[in-house]
Symmetry: C2
């Protein structure tokens, strides 16, 4: 929303039910801002505001609304209005929306869709979630090799209104096999009589319907694409993915990684719109698993009870050791997880990563160990051997932590698990148990 | 690279110095793949391969190379070759490249640029890093209100070759003030004699040169844009940001947040290409700060020495308590940080977040407390009071952790700091000290 004043004006017109003026005001706004406005309404205002929209704008605004709002609106409008929306929506948006609706709503919406639209939507609903098929659109401009540039322009002009992108066109043979790609830019610089087959680009970068959307996003980032053709198992062109959907995918995949790395089950629903119960449910499982795993650390500490009863000061260094170990391990794990997510690090870099993390851990461990020696020596000047013991332990813990932190995400990847689960919480739990064992082994060797 | 065989063929041609065949092979490849190939070369092969490129392709391949490679190439080619590259590069790519080069290289490159290019590059180099100005391009199609659709097509045809995008055109007055926007799609559906001023879109979404690139990325994500006009302080159009650059920005900003959240100083250089010393340097500072902060936890533990000397078993629960607290706090911090990064949570949601996290922490704390009671009771059946004490402490720690974890990132934002620094490591350090204090206070109250 550009300004709070616009919002106030819209609310006023809506409350006064001045729907003609409201519609005029809507026409001056971007559809995303109109959707933002409707999101902030409640009760019957929602449907009244939605109905004030121009027919052409309604479907577009609808595609930007949250699933909650979409459901509320669909439940309150007529079959005819539903038909208008569903036939106007791009098929991928329609499928996204239907995937989130209860069965009754899906049935009613599909009943009102035109037979063509219904068939297409049903096809889209069959693609696996988060696949190229699930984010592609079927509305693209198709050309033939034998067309001239002039023919191509005529076709584009005809199709311009209802295709998601017209700037990249796809050249297919009679069996819909993809033969080449041509951009409107290339058409502009070519003489009008040139055959498409002579100027089309045959270095085609494409995806298949079952490819993961993360893979698709990487292709866009790597090759600076505006759109990407998607083919089926028989190599027939079935749709295209456009860059605006990829922008959402990149953001969504990063959010999913952030959530996983913080030991939270991923959800796409915005925080402020999720209930306390649901948020709690997403967090408890991992916390419980990690808490139960900490039993191991408890066992280690019980085993060395005599050591810390003899030198109680040893206990006061435990949190410093485990925290530094945990932090050192998460640094490595996070960098490796992110590196794999953006495809800079691959499973066959395993030994390179192991060797690099090992050397880094020596540098970091030695530096922190030295700093720590000075710190403890300043606080407990009479205990140089104690300072030494704790500092050697710290160095050992950092080396273990960084090595474990570096390789576990790569192992997860090799085992086809999401590397992001091998982040801070899991690394911390493992490093704590190993670290304390190392600590008391070194204490035994030096102090006792 | 499509296949390892392509790579092998290219290497063979290069080693045999069959440069004509190499050039032909290059023409069949995507420029990004050619850049990938050159990245894997060493020594004089790099420049020889680069020189085998067609003149038209060279600048484009150059823009996809790493800074190390760009420097090596520029140092080995002639002034004439440099002039060809720098005049062909888009200004934003040229500025990016020069920002990373040593002074001597910058001087030599600018000397060989045409006066126009040099002036434009110098202007770009003055925009703050990570600003809209620093990622925009000056190559766009400008139109006038008084032009017809036919005129506009003629202009686009003329400009098509060397403009970064032609699909959105910008309508300016004689003082270069932005008056409207029109897409090629809209031009296609309009009659040829229509005036641009009559059909252009005046609902303009724009940025200023000094806006943060993160803000720009959010506008693209929100409004599904392909390009965005950038104006200067006097509202004159100076450039446009295109969606391919935004895809890089989104990825880069997420990477920066991942690094900060793992207590690592951010760097844009890929992990495998960064030296051990540099990686170590980026990690030591935060680890040292956090390690020294853990002195507080040590003091707390020393203060309660008598408590754990009386009941040594108390020590064995310390890692479980601090880890669960740390994990619970990071979950909240991570969700809030990410929510703010994608603009779903804003500073004025402070009390909503506080209240929500408090309620979540009660649910999560009570659940974990109950589970923990059962666990300890099973291991130590004779100690129900001990089980109760630890479980009540656990619940209190979770409540503190989630509340602190939820509000600290928001406070950071209000204080204009990056919320991402208030992530797992900092939260863990704070929660450890507070958590142990709470633990021993409860121990004192119930057990002693």
């Amino acid at each position: 929303m550009a300004a709070a004043t616009t919002y106030a004006v819209l609310v006023e017109l809506l409350k006064a039910r001045q729907l003609k003026e409201l519609r005029e005001k809507f026409e001056e706004l971007n559809v995303v801002d109109i959707a933002d406005f409707i999101e902030r309404l409640a009760g019957e205002d929602i449907v009244i505001a939605f109905r004030a929209l121009h027919k052409d704008t309604a479907a577009e605004v609808f595609s930007y609304l949250s699933y909650d709002m979409q459901e509320q609106i669909v439940k309150s409008i007529t079959d005819q209005e539903i038909a208008n929306i569903i036939n106007e929506l791009f098929v991928d948006d329609a499928a996204d929306f239907l995937e989130e609706m209860p069965a009754g709503v899906v049935k009613r919406v599909l009943k009102n869709a035109s037979p063509d639209t219904r068939a297409l939507i049903n096809q889209f609903l069959q693609y696996p979630p988060d696949s190229a098929g699930s984010i592609m659109t079927a509305e693209f401009v198709g050309l033939k090799k034998t067309m001239t540039v002039r023919d191509a322009f005529a076709r584009i002009r005809r199709d311009a209104v209802d295709r998601e992108t017209i700037y990249t066109c796809y050249v297919m043979d009679e069996n819909r096999h993809l033969e080449g790609i041509i951009t409107v830019r290339e058409l502009f610089v070519a003489p009008e009589d040139t055959l498409i087959g002579d100027i089309m680009d045959t270095k085609i970068i494409s995806a298949t319907t079952t490819d993961d959307q993360e893979h698709v996003a990487r292709l866009f980032a790597k090759y600076d694409l505006l759109s990407l053709p998607v083919v089926d198992q028989e190599n027939r062109l079935v749709g295209i993915v456009t860059v605006d959907d990829v922008v959402q995918v990149i953001t969504q995949e990063a959010t999913e990684d952030f959530q996983l790395m913080a030991a939270t089950s991923p959800t796409e629903r915005p925080y402020l719109r999720t209930s306390v119960w649901e948020l709690a449910r997403h967090r408890i499982i991992w916390l419980a698993v990690l808490m139960l795993s900490a039993t191991v650390t408890g066992v280690v500490l019980q085993r060395y009870e005599e050591a810390f009863l003899a030198i109680p000061l040893l206990v006061s260094f435990i949190p410093m050791l485990t925290d530094t170990g945990g932090n050192a391990g998460s640094q490595s794990a996070t960098l490796i997880i992110r590196g794999m997510a953006v495809d800079e690090i691959r499973p066959n870099d395993f030994f390179k990563v192991l060797w690099k993390e090992f050397r880094i851990s020596l540098v970091v461990g030695a530096s922190l160990g030295a700093l720590n020696f000075v710190r403890i020596y300043l606080i407990h000047p009479g205990e140089p051997i104690l300072s030494l013991t704790v500092s050697v332990s710290l160095m050992a813990v950092v080396v273990v932590a960084k090595t474990v932190g570096g390789i576990l995400p790569m192992l997860a990847k090799v085992l086809k698990a999401d590397p992001a689960i091998m982040a801070s919480p899991v690394i911390t739990t493992i490093v704590d148990a190993v670290g304390l064992l190392v600590y008391f082994k070194i204490v035994e060797a030096i102090l006792l």
